[in-house]
Assembly symmetry: C2
Homo-oligomer: 589 residues x 2
């Protein structure tokens, strides 16, 4: 029997010697490597946190004491020690836990989290509720050095420092964000590492924390000793721990960015020195376009809030781009304001961000950018309904962005449209422009797009028909085309097919014209219906005789729901759509 097999809950840990805890760490690491390389997932962050997690559960009494993870990229060892071991050791049970903390999964998990920089703020709340109710349990917030660049983390630090009661913040400093770190804070973390935490100029002390430094975050004795010393402290305390991202897996230690999150089989690929060949997708198209722009125009700046890899900005791109590339760290709010500032002063910013993370910038989009009408370009990746984890859905960007005044939000349907929009956006000086980068396979029309996108809100009529008009937005234009064909094939309905392009305004002239020979307008959008595009069309036709049928996603947080299920329940299968259309036509007229 392995040590790991003996650990059914953290209390089993407390019986172990240091020697067997060290054996346990090795067993956990091996299981993690095997599991993550099989299913894909976060590799480096978890390998780095094995000993820290063992020591935390050895010293503190969870779930009475509370451990709150940030982003929860690093929670797998915690799951292994809190009754969910088999999800990491038994291949048949690999799918039984999610990649993030989840209170529905375990009482040891306090929050569903997948966005960064939240742990300290959430922990402050947990501590405040404890204090009001007269509790005495420890509240431990875990945060990575990368997440410390996020404003919400700082707001949390600032308030944790004045709570006046127990609060322990574990800073897991692996000298990395997803990619390398950027920002002034990191010079202080380096200074603290170099001085073994002794430097007088200390970011955490300045804010009011007691401070402890652990130079080797893989030494269980050191970890346990410091955690024991801070347990039950009544003063806000930071434990700054130096760890190695990817610890114990040489390819992951060597290429920390590549092994932050991996797909299945990556370890073997790396060990045999292979890098997956990447076929053309919208990331590579974007990168190729921007490489050229950076060379041609000294005013261009490509901006990433710490997610260059996810948006196609390879190390090679970043190196070549030089001053034309800025990674601002995990600081999406700053990224938008920074872009607005650049655009206001004659620069050509292109910010690249995932749909789920642009959510962090509503007010910056509104106040810093849109109100000022600065001509920045923002590219939103991974927008659309998907089988993603509940914390990384791409279904909310249309409702969030398209209802902000002054922004032009565009939905290209082909590579050529996308490039034409990029060119237009970077050359114009009137509008803040957001482009929803298509997801899925590249669609090419084969001919350059000459549209002047500065003539706002002009939809493209792709096929002229009658009775039914289908507006297929962005990613769903090809679905609309399928429906258009199927209506003809199955019901002899020759519908009008429209590519609306603009999510921030209607082509009222066209929509009015449709009234003359259309009974039904159908909208298809790859995102949540509530607050989205279809509702605007429904409002437009509210007082007319034209009926409107809207297709898109329900208002909900789905969690790793297979796309086939998701599409079927939302009536997004072509057969369903065609039947729904036919049913309205039959009923209404």
């Amino acid at each position: 029997m392995t040590v790991l097999e003996k650990i059914n809950s953290p209390k089993d840990l407390k019986k172990q010697t240091i020697e067997s805890l060290n054996v346990l760490a090795e067993e956990m690491r091996k299981a993690l490597i095997r599991k993550v390389d099989t299913t894909g997932g976060h590799m480096g962050p978890n390998l780095g946190m094995v000993e820290v997690t063992i020591a935390l559960h050895y010293v503190f009494n969870t779930p009475s004491d509370k451990i709150i993870f940030d982003v929860s990229h690093q929670c797998y060892p915690h799951k292994m020690l809190t009754g969910r071991r088999e999800a990491f050791t038994d291949p048949d049970k690999y799918g039984t836990v999610s990649g993030y903390t989840n209170p529905e999964e375990s009482p040891y998990d306090l929050f569903k989290v997948g966005h960064t920089a939240t742990s300290i703020s959430l922990a402050c709340g947990v501590a405040k509720a404890r204090d009001l109710q007269g509790g005495h349990e420890n509240v431990v917030a875990i945060i990575g050095d990368g997440s410390l660049s996020g404003g919400e983390a700082y707001e949390g630090l600032n308030n944790a420092a004045v709570l006046g009661s127990n609060m322990i913040i574990v800073v897991n400093d692996n000298e990395m964000s997803i990619a390398e770190n950027h920002g002034g804070l990191y010079s202080n973390l380096r200074l603290l590492r170099e001085t073994s935490g002794e430097a007088e100029c200390n970011f955490f002390k300045a804010i009011g924390f007691n401070y402890h430094y652990i130079a080797d975050g893989h030494n269980l004795e050191d970890l346990i000793s410091v955690f024991q010393s801070v347990k039950d402290t009544q003063h806000p305390t930071v434990v700054h721990i130096h760890t190695i991202k990817g610890k114990g897996l040489s390819v992951a230690e060597a290429d920390k960015e590549r092994f932050h999150w991996i797909v299945s089989g990556e370890v073997e690929s790396a060990q045999s020195n292979q890098q997956a060949e990447k076929s053309e997708d919208y990331s590579t198209i974007t990168r190729t376009f921007l490489e050229k722009k950076c060379q041609e125009d000294k005013r261009v700046v490509v901006i990433s809030p710490a997610t260059p890899g996810a948006t196609g900005l390879t190390k090679d791109f970043r190196k070549k781009a030089g001053v034309h590339y800025t990674d601002v760290g995990i600081a999406e709010e700053h990224a938008v304001a920074f872009s607005s500032g650049i655009a206001s002063a004659g620069g050509k910013p292109v910010m690249m961000v995932l749909s789920s993370f642009i959510q962090r910038t509503y007010d910056q989009l509104s106040q810093d950018l849109a109100l000022n009408k600065n001509p920045a370009t923002i590219l939103v990746f991974w927008g659309g309904l998907s089988g993603a984890d509940a914390t990384h859905l791409g279904s909310f960007d249309i409702p969030m962005i398209s209802n902000i005044p002054n922004i032009v939000y565009l939905a290209p349907t082909t590579k050529e449209e996308y490039i034409a929009m990029l060119n237009w956006s970077m050359n114009q000086t009137e509008h803040p422009v957001v482009i929803r980068v298509p997801s899925g396979e590249v669609v090419s029309s084969g001919t350059p797009d000459e549209t002047d996108y500065g003539v706002l809100n002009r939809f493209k009529v792709v096929e002229k028909g009658q009775d039914v008009a289908i507006l297929g937005l962005g990613n769903f234009f090809e679905l609309a085309r399928t429906v258009h064909r199927k209506l003809a094939d199955d019901f002899n309905i020759h519908s009008t097919l429209i590519n609306p392009i603009y999510m921030t305004g209607l082509d009222e002239t066209l929509l009015n014209e449709l009234k003359s020979n259309h009974k039904l307008v159908v909208t298809l959008e790859d995102g949540q219906l509530d607050g989205g595009f279809g509702e605007k069309v429904a409002r437009f036709y509210g007082c007319s005789d034209v009926k409107v049928l809207t297709f898109g996603g329900r208002k909900e947080f789905t969690d790793r729901m297979p796309e086939s299920v998701l599409f079927e329940r939302n009536h997004l299968i072509p057969e369903q759509i065609v039947l729904d259309i036919n049913s309205v036509l039959k009923k209404g007229y």
Copy 2:
């Protein structure tokens, strides 16, 4: 001729002696006091920045050198020195400038701003654009100590520190936010003040800044000397200046919070020791309710992100509430996450925030709160169409909040409903609840409301009629009632009058029932139509024979537009609404 009359642009300043600059400061201060006490506006912040602003314009060469204000509460002296003097000296011209910086007003203003914590991030962008284009002008960001608690400010500091070129951040430390400061940072600012900037443990130095301290921010020679020494620096630099909020007006120095922003006549009231009697409004109702709750239930915490005064939380309330009140500083993101954390651990958080500032928390509402379904209560004040400045509009909260899954967003129409909702929200454990506190005069039904708001999305039918149903949401319910009466009086139409209450879900049963004897459903909402409530109703009826007419605001940033104009252009006058309804009825049927 006064000195001030000689200053038509900053270059006129440069000819003056220190003596005449000091005279100028006094002249400016007198004009400011007279003007602001006449029109209302920001008093304390501007009085504190007179000398700093003179010194900045004396040393730097604006508009070539760039000065970027944070929140721009403190920009009046800047306006006086940059060609807009008469807006402060000539009562006939008091209305010619806005209370915030505005590039449309002057080339010396770089951004429209009214939300906090943005200046450093925007300045980083301006500096980056300068560097790419080979410019050499100075970029100066101004920020108050209060704003430094905002995450966006920190994200900006973190990146300003690594820009590698000229960037000067002026920290105006008046030891106050709007109310008093809260957070760990402020202990460091105090330490720096107490050591004349000499303490080794320095927040700004930790992040990588060169650092200068000016103990007397009203001493022009000191200010000029330090600004001259940092001008053209190629290293990121913080100039930390201690100023006195309200400097030169004794009542404002004595009560800094009261004189942060004042209404017309406040100086005289304060000098004669009067405090305006406050009649009952929704702020006082809220305060009275929460006072009782704080006494009755130890789990209650009232949370303000640095705007207690604007939401009715008087000094007296805060003192009495003790541990049941937390001001988190200007840190709205943290406030939402903190509330979620408290609710997750059995506390009863009630966060109070202005509509315009809840915009800063989209992702925290979505991820930290709604995804976790924690039963926090958030009260949104000042929601609705208004004559406010473009930076403080309350027209976007319905589109922003109501499209986030899992949130229950309520629109009470009377005092009794509001109190019943507060009680329900604080007693339930299932939902994150947001309540849009009514604006305008208190409406009372006279009888306690016994509704169980846990039965979600059940609209209240107030008057049964036929043909037309009017859904009057929240603030606009009384408008709906007027329209209801007028339809009867003018056109003999006996309409159905409905109070929808819920902004996050439709009463589908009721809406389906209406189909049987209603031709038209009218929605009235006090906010932007795009993404709002009416569009959901229009989508619901999209395929039916019921027509939908939606009333609300256009998608736009209005700027101090008189409400009469705003309402008329949006067809929100009862006469207009009734005519529109009648016109649809006549046309359609």
